[in-house]
Subunit: 237 residues, 2 copies
Amino acid sequence: MKPNSRDGARHAARPTLVYRKLRDLIVKGQLAPGTRLVETDVASRLSVSRTPVRGALQRLQQEGYILDSPSLQQSRPIVAPLTREDARELFYIVAEVEALAARHAADLPNAKRSALAGRLQRINDDFKKAATAKQPSHHRLWELDERFHRGYVEAGAGPRLLALHDAVKPQAERYERIYVSLLVSELGASIAEHNVIIRAIRAGDREAAQTAVQTNWRNAAERLGRVIDSLGERGQW
Amino acid sequence: MKPNSRDGARHAARPTLVYRKLRDLIVKGQLAPGTRLVETDVASRLSVSRTPVRGALQRLQQEGYILDSPSLQQSRPIVAPLTREDARELFYIVAEVEALAARHAADLPNAKRSALAGRLQRINDDFKKAATAKQPSHHRLWELDERFHRGYVEAGAGPRLLALHDAVKPQAERYERIYVSLLVSELGASIAEHNVIIRAIRAGDREAAQTAVQTNWRNAAERLGRVIDSLGERGQW
DNA sequence: AACCGCATCTTTGTATACAATTCTGGCGTA
DNA sequence: TACGCCAGAATTGTATACAAAGATGCGGTT
């Protein structure tokens, strides 16, 4: 029984596929915080052996998506819980990472910078339109916000910073996805903060760009904190 | 070698031992940049099977100590090269990570803050003494600088930020270890910058603390960049 | 009924066999 | 000589067998 006998199509490494699949399930909330992850279960569910699953679990653990129960000797991984404190710390980290990228984006040569600013402006305009629609689509709002931030990160970050961003950001997404519905009412603040970012990048003012992004994420952290307070934490019992 | 602070008195798992051993060899430069890491070689050299080695290599790769050749299908890991660009990006990342920790340290209650400031002051005084000795010990200088920074990071960082710091900082150490001998002449600047950090923490001024740490590391990046220019890069050919 | 001890089951850790892929070197041909 | 091709070696990828550690539950004793 060799599952790889006839699947010669796309060549993304298998452990990476397992990793992505699990990460996706965790980020989207399908794997609830606190869930035990059993190697053999995951393996049979995804039709691979334990070996690639093990690699994927190690990666996920290192990035913070799963934790080890402090039981000695053995590992016993569970999906990381979502707590108010963790959210706050995480958002403050994202703030610094993206702010550094924005700083570098503001240092780009003039032509690239104004092209970037234009792209961001258009995304933020769409964002505003989507936010003021009668029935705002959560998914669309989330996607536009994501694209906005990704825009300057990709433009300004080097390979290391980009890797760090890719590792950290999806964990913030875990929180955003759960609480997004309750944040819709405060979208006006986001739009205004985005505009400050755009202006700083267009002006090539690195300090202003860095600060504006920090402010945007720190404010988001505070908004999220209030929502978590009212809704409760998940996976902590 | 010093055991890591947060992994307690328990026997470390074997993959972790392999991971630490390899990381140590890389950080200390015993495993030269560019070196191929062959699973079976590492395994036999450390008297374990390929399984735990594989886990260790995956962790090292994810953290950036080793890279995969972009050759298709298979992995073929090599020790990450040391380049001027990488050093710069890395130091700017450390700058933000430690600066965020310093910000939080400056938010501590008064008693803890001044105790911390006192500890840092003593370390920096020792640093100054060691720097002005007739024959400055590189190892001692490096250790005191390390302790200085670790002081406020441990005081201010939460679990996530601390984990991030532990993952990123040793990579900066790779550069520091190689070029430390050429940086001794500029220690005066470091001492002065450290004092700015101490004053900001003692005053409880979060913005000043964050900025002071950023400045310290960005200046270090520039100093290091000049040294690399004159000495050349490693593992890149 | 509550509790303890022990056998068993579950789960993770390690080693190893085998498959798939990539690299190397030599040989023939132009 | 230069080039390309093929066979075999080296290396990584995957599956699986077995070992070790921890959890579970049953039956007996009080």
